[in-house]
């Protein structure tokens, strides 16, 4: 299980990131300033660090400099500064990626996973029961055999997996997979769910939740 350190002085944000990442199966620790963060980094080993730039005591740039001198932990900057020069400064210091506030939580998770993949820390192939999913080339295997999914089916599968064991509302599932512009069509969603169940043999695992929507139980 990957361990992630979240360095963020806004407790609301660090909590949000923590909830999202823990749900994806990461272990998270939070630090509210640069000093606490550096202590944590010295004591523990992390697979990835999420780093805010505007921090009390020791700011993000300084902390990154310190991390880069002694460790090889991949680091992603999180900041409200969106000017190109700030981005360049961060990337020049050795940040692996850069995400600006306000961000959508899915975007953050996607970036975290991309960086982990780059470091071969994230499993390019993750197993969920008898199904293994390769996030890098978007391919799915069941019992070692390729299962061909349409892009929408794959997106739907990822959404279910990222929020596994949580009941998801139908309208929001539709919006996240098909985009905000399209009008909600329950038939389209139901059809895709049925196909997924059939292709993966997950008839029992993808459950219909009464009055809410669907839930993947693994």
């Amino acid at each position: 299980m990957n361990k992630i350190l979240i360095v963020e002085d806004e407790i609301a944000i660090s909590d949000l990131i923590k909830i999202a990442l823990e749900n994806r199966g990461y272990m998270c620790q939070t630090a509210k300033d640069g000093e606490i963060a550096s202590n944590y980094i010295e004591k523990n080993v992390y697979d990835l660090i999420l780093l805010d730039i505007m921090l009390p005591k020791v700011d993000g740039y300084e902390l990154l400099d310190y991390i880069r001198k002694s460790y090889e932990t991949p680091t992603i900057f999180i900041t409200a500064k969106s000017q190109t020069e700030d981005k360049i400064k961060g990337l020049n210091l050795g940040a692996d990626d850069y995400i600006t506030k306000p961000f959508e939580i899915e975007e953050l998770v996607a970036r975290v996973e991309a960086v982990l993949r780059r470091y071969n820390k994230g499993n390019e192939e993750q197993n969920f029961g008898d199904v293994s999913i390769n996030f890098a080339n978007r391919s799915v295997k069941k019992l070692g055999k390729n299962v061909s999914l349409t892009p929408k089916e794959f997106d739907l599968l990822i959404l279910l997996i990222q929020n596994r064991n949580c009941a998801l509302y139908r309208e929001v599932i539709f919006e996240k997979v098909w985009g905000e512009e399209l009008e909600f069509e329950t038939r389209t969603l139901d059809l895709h769910i049925q196909r997924l169940r059939k292709k993966l043999g997950w008839k029992d695992k993808i459950k219909t939740v009464y009055k809410i929507g669907y839930m993947l139980e693994i």
Binding site: A12, L16, I19, D33, P56, K81, K101, P102, I105, Y169
Partner: protein, 468 residues
């Protein structure tokens, strides 16, 4: 062309013209003088010779000798051949301008005939093949016949002298010009050096190095120019620093503002997205809803203060005169419910000049800050006292957590927060004191903050007191 080169060229040209004109006059006068002397000398000589010839003829007459042209010529020949002065020559012409005798070299080209006709004694200058002759003509009436005698004197010496002078002058003039060129060049370079350094400094300033100054100490016009230039550079530098500061403040404001705006927005969007996608458990839902509420509250406060701040920078305020102690009492009575601490008043009565609504914002902000610092005795004191120079001082005093020394000077900056985490919990935005500062600026006043960590803070400002 460089200025110093122009200067050198100009001066050298002037010197050359003056030198050549003066030299020309000197040489010409010298030459004319010597020529005049020579004319005198030669005409005397001529008179002497004629006299001798006359003597010879008179002798002939006395001795009864037949006078003929041949005889005269022979006489003359003798005379000249035995004379010491060999440079002189003679020519004799008949009445019909026929040459009877001549020992003048190249006589043909002298065009002597043209001068024979003259009645009186006459001299002229002729040049033949680099030789200069001074010719004297005289006519004799002998044997009923006129003969002309031309005496020629070699005057090459004065021409040679003139040429020699000219050569010397040429050499000395060249030497003078060379030396003066060098001297003038040195002077010109020295004189134009300050201009050069002025130019270099100007270029440096133009390339963005605004703190560059000219270092010219001379008291002439260039020194004055350098002084004025430095003054101008000071002004420009000040203005640019001012502008840079403004840009920086604006950038800081925008950075602070975006940070203050984006952080709650990220949280609100994130949590609400979480809630609407998933059927979350009770605990997570409570947490998410609480965050959404507090972050929205924060945004609300921020937007309220920002609007106030913006409206302040746009309009000029109207100041009115009112009684301050009563005003503060009323205000505190209405607002005290929102503060945790008890508010104690200690106010002297006085009339002050100000904008009631804005001053309420100031006092409320100061009270909020004191309240957030959690005073140990759970008490905030508002003190109002009359000071010298018709000033009324309002102080807000608490025994709260205080402000660390290194932060005191910065607390009035936009979005500056001493302890962000702490400030957040109390939905502080970091903009309160900058609002206070702006309002007080409009009252020609400013905020003073004295604080010691863990002991307490006193914030005070002064207003203009009015008699009523």
């Amino acid at each position: 062309m460089k200025f110093w080169k122009k200067l050198v060229l100009f001066v050298i040209t002037a010197i050359s013209i003056i030198l050549s004109i003066s030299r020309f006059y000197i040489v010409k006068n010298n030459f004319l003088n010597s020529l005049e002397n020579l004319v005198k000398q030669n005409s005397n000589q001529n008179i002497l010779e004629r006299y001798m010839l006359e003597n010879a003829i008179v002798n002939m007459i006395e001795t009864g000798e037949q006078i003929s042209n041949e005889k005269i010529i022979e006489n003359l020949k003798n005379m000249y051949e035995h004379s010491d002065n060999n440079s002189e020559a003679i020519a004799i012409y008949s009445e019909k301008y026929e040459q009877i005798y001549s020992n003048i070299k190249d006589i043909e080209s002298l065009n002597i005939e043209s001068i024979l006709d003259e009645e009186k004694e006459y001299y002229c200058l002729r040049e033949v093949k680099d030789s200069h002759y001074m010719l004297f003509s005289s006519h004799w009436f002998i044997n009923n016949e006129t003969i002309y005698i031309i005496n020629a004197y070699d005057v090459n010496t004065i021409y040679e002298e003139r040429d020699r002078q000219l050569r010397e002058i040429l050499i000395t003039d060249i030497i003078i010009l060379v030396i003066s060129s060098i001297v003038i060049s040195i002077f010109s370079i020295l004189l134009t050096k300050p201009i050069d350094s002025l130019n270099k400094t100007t270029k440096k300033i133009a390339s963005g190095n605004f703190s560059e100054r000219v270092n010219i100490k001379s008291k002439d016009e260039i020194g004055e120019l350098a002084n004025s230039f430095n003054l101008m550079a000071d002004q420009v530098e000040n203005k640019i620093n001012e502008l840079n500061l403004q840009v920086k403040q604006k950038n800081d404001f925008i950075n602070g503002f975006t940070h203050e705006l984006k952080t709650p927005m990220t949280a609100i969007v994130g949590y609400s997205d979480l809630l609407r996608l998933r059927n979350t458990d009770e605990e997570t839902s409570r947490k998410a809803i609480n965050y959404i509420y507090s972050e929205t509250k924060r945004l609300e406060k921020l937007s309220f203060k920002l609007m106030k701040l913006m409206s302040l920078s746009n309009e000029k305020i109207e100041l009115e005169v009112f009684e301050i102690s009563e005003f503060i009492e009323k205000m505190v009575k209405m607002e005290s419910i929102i503060f945790n601490s008890k508010i104690e008043l200690n106010l002297e009565k006085a009339y002050v000049k100000g904008d009631k609504e804005l001053l309420e914002v100031v006092i409320k902000n100061l009270l909020e800050n004191s309240d957030k610092s959690e005073p140990k005795d759970n008490k905030i004191v508002i003190k109002g006292e009359r000071r010298e120079n018709k000033k009324y001082r309002i102080s807000v005093i608490d025994k709260g957590c205080g402000i660390p020394k290194e932060h005191i000077n910065r607390v009035t900056e936009d979005f500056y927060m001493v302890d962000k985490a702490r400030s957040r919990e109390k939905s502080g935005s970091g903009i309160g004191l900058s609002l206070v500062k702006k309002i007080l600026n409009l009252h020609n006043s400013e905020i003073f903050i004295e604080s010691e960590e863990n002991i307490g803070t006193t914030a005070y400002f002064e207003l203009e007191e009015e008699a009523k």
